[in-house]
Every structure is written in structure tokens, then in C-alpha cells.
């Protein structure tokens, strides 16, 4: 086990291209399950590969525990990695695959056998140890890849989108397995994914990346509830956070012509417009008129099983329309084109400055959040 300290990591793949990773500094605590989350091309995999040593950073340093490993090859870093495409050796049996790392370290045969047995047991591969990967299902290959990484008892375990090639059901069950496994191993894990649900459910902390930079880093619910930029609010959550432009009008603020309360602390900091970020589950709908609610109309109802996903529009006419998505209990009497009143608890609104797209909340700017980690 050891912590990971990245300092000023920059990586460009071509001399004149925009950097894939742009001056990223980051500390992953000892024993932490740390998730790098972002859309494809945001630099999360490059950052992971820099920690692994498969990629050399153009600038910056990598420390694993007390050791500086910036220019060490992967095999000298005491790490293990689970690859996106599994990268299970097709010419070796499952047992040989799992024992590969220890065999390369010239560990005694007995020790290898014990480690293989332990790692295979963790991921329930005991009964296929003699098979070749070609005789395994995708999910089993994936578990071979995890077992191979676990068997060397690395101080840092790196995972590059390990679930992305599995079908939905397997992904769900494997996600729980992975979380239990992480608890059991108690090793430092860096996990790369573009799936926000994975990130929220697995991570002790989540770092959201965009264009080679870390936008926000914090505990999952903190990142979910208090996104520091519009991008984070939109990237996390299904459906993404609603963003309603609130404009200054005569006698107050309004959304699509409908009055909307903007607290004084926020109103003081913007000129004519501010964005209200509201999570779909935080909107309280009503089929009868209630005070301080936005009147709207239901356009579409999508039953999700445990909830209804309702698309509604607010306003209309000259002031324009705004689309809103909300989640309601399944017994909500939602009919197409029915009128609806949407109440938004003021404390549930996340305010964004339209110019900078940053949250209007000085306390947790991205920089502060990253360095506090």
C-alpha cells in the first residue's frame, strides 16, 4: 500500500497538439478507491498510464509512497493494472495468467500456487484454472485480469475501464464484486471510467476530468450534489442536471416568463442572467396549483420501473419555453399534455454564472477541491 502523488503532470502526444493531460497535480491517499471520471478523450486514461509507467509525462513527477517513480519502467513500480480489453495472455492457462506476475518475480513455486489459489478464490475462478482464455466467457476473462492484478499484491492497483466490455447485467454484479474486493484488499486503487454511475458507486473520491484537467475532485455525493461547473452537473446524473436560465425582469427574476426566486447572495453577483441547476429528483411536481411553483405542461412520460421520468416544459409564448426533466414516484398521475406545477426547494438549487459556467459558491472552486484532497 502507498499513496500516489502526482505533481504538474503534462503530456502531449504531438508537439503542437493540445495536451492530453494538462498540469495535473493530485494526491491519492493510501488505501483509497479513487475514480478518474470523464468523457472519452479527457485524458483520464493517459493519466492512469502515466502512473503505470506505460506513458512518460513530458513534465511533472510521480511519487508512489516515498519513492519517486517518474522515470522508472512499469515493472519497477510495484503496481498492477487491469486493462480495458483484459489483455489476458491467450497462450497461457488461467492459472499461468494469474501467476504471471509472481513467476516474473521468480517467486518460489509454492508461493505462486498459493497466490493463484487465493486470487482465483476472490473472483470465483477456482474451477477453470486449467482452461485457456479462449474457452472462457468475457466475464470470466475479466475476472482473470483482475485476479492476475490482485495476485502480485501491488501497492497500487490501476484499473482502466474494466467493466466497459461487459454486458449490462454482468457489469452491475461485477461492480458490487469489485467494491467488496477493494474492501478486502485494502490497497490503493485508481479506477478510470466514463460511466458516472460506476464512479459514484465505487469511489471513495471521484475526480471529474475534462480536456486534460481535473475539474472537480471530492467525495461522490459531494461532486453529485455540489458540482463546481455546469459541465460536472451535466456529466453526472441520469438524467443530467436541469439548467434553467433565470433572467432579471421587471419586478424580479423569471424562468421563461414565470417568476422564480433568486436569493440575494446570488443575485448580487450576476448582472442579467444566472443558471439554476436542479437535479431531476429534487423537483416536487403537483397536479394542482401550489404557491412558488413554476407552471408547466407534461410532454412525455417514460416509466423507468422504480420511477417515472417526466419531461415537461415551463413557460411558452413570447418568453420562450424551457425543458425540464423530473423524476417522480410511479404513482404520480402524469398524463401527456396535463398541466403541472413544479416546486423547486431553494436550498436544492445550484447556481451557475453563465459567463464562466462556474458555480456561484466561492467555497468549493475546483482548485480548492483538488488541493484539499
Amino acid at each position: 500500500m502507498s499513496d500516489i502523488r502526482l505533481s504538474g503532470i503534462t503530456k502531449r502526444y504531438a508537439r503542437n497538439a493540445a495536451p492530453a493531460v494538462d498540469d495535473v497535480s493530485l494526491t491519492v491517499r493510501d488505501g483509497e478507491f479513487f475514480v478518474l471520471l470523464g468523457p472519452s478523450g479527457c485524458g483520464k486514461t493517459t493519466l492512469l498510464r502515466t502512473i503505470a509507467g506505460l506513458e512518460q509525462a513530458d513534465a511533472g513527477t510521480v511519487h508512489l509512497g516515498e519513492r519517486e517513480v517518474t522515470s522508472l519502467p512499469p515493472r519497477r513500480r510495484d503496481i498492477a493494472m487491469v486493462f480495458q480489453g483484459y489483455a489476458v495472455f491467450p497462450h497461457l492457462t488461467v492459472a499461468e495468467n494469474i501467476g504471471f506476475g509472481l513467476a516474473m518475480r521468480k517467486a518460489p513455486k509454492r508461493e505462486i500456487a498459493e497466490a493463484v489459489e487465493y486470487a482465483a478464490g476472490l473472483v470465483r475462478l477456482d474451477d477453470v484454472l486449467d482452461r485457456y482464455p479462449s474457452a472462457l466467457s468475457g466475464g470470466q476473462r475479466q475476472r482473470v485480469a483482475v485476479a492476475r492484478a490482485v495476485a502480485v499484491r501491488p501497492s497500487v492497483l490501476l484499473m482502466d475501464e474494466p467493466l466497459s466490455n461487459l454486458d449490462a447485467l454482468l457489469r452491475l454484479s461485477f461492480r458490487s464484486d469489485l467494491k467488496a474486493l477493494a474492501k478486502e484488499l485494502n490497497t490503493t486503487i485508481v479506477y478510470v471510467t466514463h460511466d458516472q454511475v460506476e464512479a459514484l458507486s465505487l469511489g471513495d473520491r471521484v475526480a471529474v476530468m475534462r480536456s486534460g484537467e481535473i475539474v472537480q475532485c471530492g467525495r461522490p455525493m459531494e461532486v453529485y450534489d455540489r458540482p463546481v461547473t455546469r459541465f460536472v452537473g451535466g456529466f453526472l446524473g441520469t438524467p443530467p442536471m436541469n439548467l434553467l436560465p433565470v433572467r432579471r425582469a421587471e419586478g424580479g427574476w423569471s424562468v421563461a416568463g414565470q417568476p422564480f426566486t433568486v436569493p440575494p447572495g446570488i443575485a448580487d453577483r450576476v448582472t442579467d442572467e444566472v443558471w439554476a441547476g436542479i437535479r431531476a429528483e429534487n423537483i416536487e411536481p403537483s397536479t394542482t396549483e401550489v404557491p412558488d411553483a413554476l407552471p408547466g405542461r407534461i410532454r412525455l412520460v417514460e416509466p423507468l420501473g422504480s420511477q417515472l421520468l417526466v419531461s415537461a416544459t415551463v413557460g411558452g409564448g413570447t418568453a420562450g419555453e424551457e425543458n425540464v426533466k423530473l423524476l417522480t414516484p410511479t404513482d404520480f398521475p402524469a398524463g401527456d399534455d396535463a398541466p403541472v406545477w413544479l416546486r423547486v426547494p431553494p436550498e436544492r438549487v445550484r447556481w451557475f454564472d453563465p459567463a464562466s459556467e462556474r458555480a456561484l459558491d466561492g467555497a468549493d472552486r475546483a482548485g480548492a477541491a483538488v488541493s484539499s484532497g
Binding site: 509507467g53 506505460l54 519502467p73 515493472r75 480489453g85
Partner: protein
Amino acid sequence: MTARRVLGYGGAVLLAGWILVPIWFVVVGAFSTADAIYGYPLAAWPDWSLESMRFFVTSAGVPEALLSSVIVAVLTGVLTLLLAAPAGYALARFVFPGANAYRLTVLSTRAFPVVVLSIPLAVFFLQWGIYDSVWGVALMHTALALPFVVLMVSAVFAGVPVDLEEAAQVFGCSRSGAFRRAVVPNAAPGLAAAATFAVLLSYNEVFAASILTLQHPTLPVFVLTGLTQAPLPFRYAGALFLLAPAFLFILLIRRRLLGVGGGPTLR
């Protein structure tokens, strides 16, 4: 059946016949008695006598020529693979300036006629003392085989996922160790196919070999030089000896030649 299909199949049958009919007569000749060969008309079905074959392999010079041919072919296969593997690997794995130009250059060496290469080479080989030896011919054959084999080998390596190499590096291998332990085992069938190609090319090559040898010809050269004086059974059996390995090997490695590792080159 549409007219298009009739034309297509008809063409295929014609093409196959054009290749197979002469070969069949070689087989018939090689497995008939001398009397049957000199008789008229030549039977379409051989009487499966080994007389002609026995006559061929015991003729003066044939065992020696066959041995040189085999040695030259094996040397060519080994040399070609040793040289082509690093070149093919570089082409498959690395993006470097001029990679495409390099690819073309590799092929363009075949733009020089063999005769243009062979005569100056004969002069050099005389100076270096390897003229009329298996080494001289093997070097020449290696040069002839390399362009194709480099491209084949690069397709083979491109078919081995980079992931495997990286995984090997993460789990304790150096770069070269990762190549040895993760790439070679998975590329082996394709590499064997590529080497076989070089071996066959060498075994059947006659022109360069005839310029670069004198007392110690390879089998094709020996058969060719004796062609005008040799009796018919000798010619038939010799032809079969030259044809057979190519046919057998191509049959065995056919799938690998066509779709080497899913690579783009030889489709």
C-alpha cells in the same frame, strides 16, 4: 443461375484447369514407367510405378543438388526471419517519420531485375569467397524474400494486441522480455508461415541460383541445366520434386497467407 454466375464459375474452372492440367501430366509422368511415358498416347491415369522417381533420385548429382537446395532454403528461412522480424515489428508498432516511405522502399527493391542484382553480386561473392556456396545463394534468396516477408511479419505483429505487451511489462517484464513472453508465442504461427514462404521462394528460385553457382548447383538449377539432354522420366520426376513442397506448404499455411493476423497487407 444467372449468366453472371455461369461466367464466373466457367472462368474459375478454366483458370483451375489451366494450372492443374499440366501439373496432372507431370504427376502422371512422374509415376509411370519409362515405357508408358515413351508410349503414345500418354495415359491420363498413371500406373503408380516408382521407377521414374527412383531413377531421378539416384541420378548422379541429384542427391547433392537436393541437399544444397534444402540447406539453402533453410538458411534463407532463418536469415529472412531474423532480419524481417525486427523490421516488421517496427512497422507494426511504432509511428515514425517515413514509415510509409519505408514500406514502399522495402517493396521497391523488387523493382530491380534479378539479373541486374545477380551479376554484380557474383563478382562480390567471388571476392568474399562465397561464390558457388550455399551461403551465397542463401544471401541472394534472403534479399529476394525479405520485402514480402517484412510486410507479412508486420501484419502478424499488428495482429497481436499491444495490450498484451503492456500487461507483460506491468507484470514484471522488460520491453524485450514482453516481446519474448507475450508477442512471440502469439505471433509464432504467423511467423512460421512467413518463414515457410521464404523457404519455398528459395527452393523454387532458379535464376539467381544458376548465376551464383557452378559446381554446386541447387536442385532447380541442376534440373534446368540437364533439361535438354535428360530423358523424359528424369524431367517428369524432377518437375514433381520441385512442385510438391510448394503445393504441400501452401495447402498447410494457406489461411495464414490470406489473412495474416487480420493484417492489411496480403488480402
